[in-house]
Amino acid sequence: MIDNPPSRFESPASVREGLRSVSYLPDEGIASVVYLADRLGKPVLVEGPAGTGKTQLAKSVAETLGARLIRLQCYEGLDESKALYEWNYKKQLLRIQAQRVAEADGGGSWTDIEEDIFSEPFLLTRPLLEAIRADEPVVLLIDEVDRVEVETEALLLEILSDYQVSIPELGTVSATQIPLVFLTSNNTRELSEALKRRCLFLHIDYPDLDREKEIVLTRVPGISESLADQVVRIVRSIRSLELKKAPSVSETLDWARTLLLLGIQSVDAETATDTLHILLKYQSDIDKAAKDLSAASASSTR
């Protein structure tokens, strides 16, 4: 193992301040887990509904630290050659061709070539290896890890626990410094126990009223306090309905921006219903919410 690097964060409070300075407003849980991830040198598995700022968290942490963000977008069918490394086949081929020409003039033997073509100049690094080999501080983001197959998950295990990559022809490449690693998951399938065990677990849920209001105020410049207040209250009411897809934070922000652009000072039921399609993406959800918002008085008799 590598020695622990000088810690990047002093305390959970300094994480909070750091993230705030790049306009990401973390709650207690987020700040605590990021702090611990740094101290323990462990990856963070971030889970939660779509659009609550999972990916943004990694980006913001990178920005706070002034570190480079290396991102691996996962998809079905992702394999070693796209995630870890690949031999530059074409370059190797050219090298062999060149050797043949040289051999005609009495050049080196096959073993020389073999050693040569499986060396670093012929290696194409992919995000994971790149993050391990980086000299400068990096933050590694493995996005939507639930999209890869269970078998592919195993690729990640060596990196996540030991921060090293074994390349049969080259040997083991170890990290010079432990990068901060974030894995995000939309929870479309259960991740393997082995992966979960190696990570700290962080669930990011929809923020509470006050935090969401603050997020709206920070992220939507020019919005008035009272409008922001109304926006987050309405969103909270909508989230309490049983919907296919509840509005996410990013949709709240989109909605707030739209209202601002339309020059609306205060939301009434009619405006809300007219602009619902920004918050909700399924027709059945929109119908339901519209019905609920306009029939608000009925709810008082329940």
């Binding site: 849980g29 702090y35 611990l36 598995l45 126990e193 065990r197 700290l200 049983e242 039921a269 608000a296």
Partner: protein, 490 residues
């Protein structure tokens, strides 16, 4: 257990904390959260970096290292509250803490009314209610906490040593506070404060806000009761009496209202995962025989050499599902969740038809058509479906017979029939011959029973009379079992 924790003893940890931690982990495991040895050690390591007085970080350190599934969060929180509720300054249970709280109230009350209201005992029921109302209107959290304490002291009537989980105390306290009336009063004030009429939306938002505050108060009271219980009987005993099953282990037949809500929340992500898994299974089926045409076509790019052989991927035909569900009282919840799960993954089936019965039977397939909202469909089933024939007591025999007469010819070799119910037939005729006929025609017939296996065939349950004709009879008491069954269907 203690052996496994010892080597990681963080410096400066008191023996008391260590003991709490080991009890805490044991309780998590008993509650069903799988905490591995490594995770336990990770937690201990994490705690070394956490100042113990920082209660929030302390809590999240334990959660992040030991609880890796969000569905388990609530359980974790309860266990945490029980084991560590007495830690942290503001949570200390001072001997005369209650007097202190009431003093604070008296103090505030005095200041507001401009008269000193004497000792804590002098606070009447009405005064307390008044304080509560004001604190709620202002959203004053410190005040609410104090009131929660005072209310528990006054109304809960807690008796030391009684082995209860606290629900009873909570109920007694809340009954005295009469929060519904408080809510109405708050709404009245909100209405009268604005000069114009409140619009519907404003009223709705105000109500949501006040309800959220009342919820916070309820939680505070619950926490206060739990703290006192722990102080009285120790963490271990209390943990045992407040232990609740994880959402996937909740028994359909005996779920309380809260548990049903938890179930409804848990089922959506579960079915989503199930659908993904089934779709993948279908796509990544084994290779089939050589596809000659395709191989020759691709060989052209290799100069006629069939370098890249192509195969036919078998596309297993999707089964057609017929669900026949008993929706009488006790098993209604089970039918509901099964229907919800089947329809959520209906893309994995070529067709889903559903029938519900009590003593009469009715087709409800259309209720699910054209709506994406399964909850609404189920509501329609419960209100509109024509399922009563004589008296509204389950009659499996009659229901099956009618089914066979009216829809029997639609069953064919592609059909998989799911029968849902506890087969408690109220001593009516079984008419098991229907199932025998059905099994002959259908691809598969399965019986899903929400009762524990040991209850089968007791009393008026005649499940094995039916089950002999089925391809399998399964116990489906909770989401975990239901999920396992549905997965093998797809």
């Amino acid at each position: 257990m203690s052996a496994e924790m010892m080597p990681e003893l963080p410096l400066g940890t008191s023996a008391g904390l260590l003991e709490s931690l080991s009890g805490f982990v044991r309780e998590l495991r008993t509650a069903g959260i799988p905490v591995s040895l490594t995770e336990n050690l990770d937690a201990m390591e994490a705690l070394q970096h956490v100042p113990i007085e920082d209660r929030d970080t302390f809590k999240y350190a334990l959660a992040a290292t030991m609880v890796k599934n969000n569905a388990h969060w609530k359980t974790f929180e309860t266990v945490f509250e029980v084991y560590f509720s007495l830690r942290g300054r503001e949570y200390h249970l001072v001997e005369d803490g209650d007097g202190e709280a009431e003093e604070l109230i008296a103090d505030l009350l005095g200041r507001r009314d401009g008269e000193a209201s004497g000792s804590a005992d002098g606070l009447t029921h009405e005064q307390l209610a008044e304080m509560l109302y004001r604190a709620l209107m202002d959203g004053n959290e410190a005040m609410l906490r104090a009131i929660a304490r005072a209310a528990v002291t006054r109304y809960a009537g807690m008796e030391p040593g009684r082995p209860v989980g606290g629900t009873y105390y909570l109920y007694r306290t809340l009954r005295q506070l009469d929060l519904d009336a408080v809510l109405e009063r708050m709404m009245e004030t909100a209405r009268s404060e604005t000069h114009e009429q409140l619009t519907d939306l404003e009223e709705r938002l105000a109500r949501d806000e006040y309800e959220a505050r009342l919820d916070a108060l309820r939680r505070e009271i619950e926490a206060e009761i739990r703290r006192r219980l722990v102080a009285d009987r120790g963490a271990e005993a209390v943990a045992k009496s407040v232990r609740k099953p994880l959402p996937e282990d909740i028994d359909f037949m005996h779920a309380s209202r809260e548990e049903l809500v938890a179930l409804r929340k848990a089922i959506a992500p579960l079915t989503r995962k199930l659908a993904v898994r089934l779709a993948r299974k279908r796509r990544h089926g084994r290779k089939g025989p050589l596809d000659f045409r395709n191989t020759v076509r691709h060989s052209l790019s290799y100069g006629g050499v069939p370098a890249d052989p192509k195969f036919r991927y078998p596309r297993p035909s999707k089964p057609e599902i017929v669900v026949i569900a008993d929706i009488s009282g006790s098993v209604a919840a089970f039918a509901r969740f099964t229907l919800q799960m089947v329809y959520a993954i209906s893309s994995q089936f070529s067709r889903v038809r559903s029938f519900v019965f009590i003593d009469g039977i009715d087709e409800v397939t259309d209720y699910f058509k054209g709506t994406e909202d399964i909850t609404a469909a189920i509501h329609r089933i419960n209100t509109e479906a024509d399922v009563i024939w004589v008296d509204g007591h389950s009659d499996y025999g009659h229901a099956f017979e009618t089914f066979w007469e009216r829809w029997g010819r639609d069953i064919n070799t592609k059909t998989t029939v799911l029968l849902l119910g506890d087969a408690r037939n109220n001593y009516h005729a079984a008419q098991a011959w229907v199932l025998a006929e059905m099994a002959k025609k259908a691809r598969h017939v399965y019986w899903l029973n929400p009762e524990p296996r040991s209850y089968w065939d007791t009393g008026d349950s005649i499940v094995s009379q039916y089950a002999t004709h089925c391809d399998g009879a399964y116990e489906c008491r909770n989401l975990k079992q239901l999920e396992r069954f549905v997965e093998q269907l797809g």
